[in-house]
């Protein structure tokens, strides 16, 4: 195993962790908002959150490159500041984050909705502000669902292929995550190398799911 062989493994893990770090706070917050708040455009926001989940990954990739590419509306602004996104590891993070986001929100949201409103009501009468209620009642009640949401989000980020291929490219030594590398290795006839990453991805996925299932038991009082 050379450094070249190890690179996709390390890259995939770093990209997925970074993507999760971005979508976890935003996604959980949005899940809370969508679960509890009632505002005029709520249905529309719901649909927009759902969108990257049902769009084919190549469509997501296309949108990303059109918007964030060097000549795109946002990309050109970034370029003026010397920031390039397309075909960089950052692009892989963005692609993974975008496709994992809906899964995270849609898994966390029902867990938060399931928290009995009565518990939150009593907490308010005991003097807790809405934010304190969120931190001391809602999240402690819903934490299992939130952990599940994080796990699923991470798994989706780890396995992302189509959007990453289009937005970050499949550049050896820079953006070749494991799913992309499996594809390239197979294409060039190196089945053994492809099998290596298939094995790693499967093992990591099992590990993550197993940890997520055991965590509630281990962390329970």
């Amino acid at each position: 195993m050379t450094a070249d062989d190890v690179f996709p493994v390390v890259l995939s893990l770093r990209v997925s962790v970074a993507a999760l770090a971005v979508i976890a706070p935003v996604g959980v917050t949005l899940a809370v908002v969508q679960a509890r708040a009632r505002y005029p455009l709520r249905r529309l926001v719901d649909a927009l959150i759902f969108l990257p989940l049902i769009l084919p990954p190549s469509v997501v990739g296309f949108f990303l490159i059109v918007v964030f590419g060097r000549e795109g509306p946002i990309g050109s602004v970034l370029d003026a500041f010397g920031m390039r996104l397309a075909f960089t590891p950052a692009a892989a993070v963005i692609a993974s984050a975008v496709v994992a986001f809906p899964i995270l929100v849609k898994t966390a949201q029902p867990a938060i909705e399931a928290v009995p409103a009565e518990l939150e009501a009593v907490a308010r009468t005991l003097g807790l502000s809405p934010l304190e209620v969120l931190a001391r009642v809602t999240l402690p009640c819903a934490w299992r669902g939130i952990v599940a949401a994080l796990v699923l989000g991470f798994a989706r980020a780890l396995g992302e292929f189509g959007a990453t291929l289009m937005f970050a490219g499949n550049i050896p030594g820079r953006t070749n995550t494991m799913p992309l590398e499996i594809f390239s290795s197979y294409q060039t006839g190196d089945d053994a190398r492809a099998a290596l990453y298939v094995g790693v991805l499967t093992a990591v996925s099992f590990g993550v799911v197993f940890a997520a299932n055991s965590a509630p038991r281990m962390l329970a009082r």
């Binding site: 060097r70 010397g82 075909f87 490219g169 499949n170 050896p172 390239s184 294409q187």
Partner: protein, 261 residues
Amino acid sequence: MNHGDSGHRIAPPRWRLALLFALVVAFACQRGRRELSVATATSLRNVMPELIAAYEASGRAGAMHLTATYAASGDLKRQVEAGAPVDVVVFAGRRPLDDLVAEGRVDAASCRSVASNELVLVGKKSGPAVTFESLETLAPGESVAMGDPRMVPAGEYARDYLRALGKWDEVQMRAVTGSNVAAVLAYVRRGEATAGIVYATELRGVTDVVVLDVAHGPLAPRPRVVAGAVRGGSKDAAGFLEFIASAAGQRILASFGFGPP
């Protein structure tokens, strides 16, 4: 079951569905002698339709219908190895064809060189005027697009040429790899890459991108377009191969900027 008068009035629906299914499958599987499939390197995506049209118009095709699929030569080789129904392969480099011959998938005797090409460095008109030798002077944020050397002959040519020039390490740091030459050109046209390494034939009809440098000298690669007939494919493959190599075929290739074989 209702036997009624005739005794066969209502057939059990199951066997009718099975028959229908079998017909559909048979129809789908049937390639027939009527179709010739040509796996073509992406760099010939503009000239191949012309070659096919001319071949069919010439009458030599008979009742046959030709279809072409386009991808990087390495990708096409992989598809043939996996058993894709291909009759003729037309690649932008020798190696994938030699590999298929060695694997016994392509008939060695049918192989021939049908055209040649030039490797060029291209960029936007408004961009910096770099050359192959001066690519390393590009700012670190600027990218150079090229085909993935593992699958795209143009990428392999580029890598070998840059290695010979001693510039490969520098350029590799700035490289953005595309899965075929069309993708490489698109990166340059879209502004994602400041410069790209493609074939001279790619710029036909393209105005926003210009040639910055041509690979020249004894170290320069000599890209060849090669073709061969897939073993077990249609017997009419040879006829099409001959047409490409004929004067008529050569004229068409030349009109698209390809050099002689």
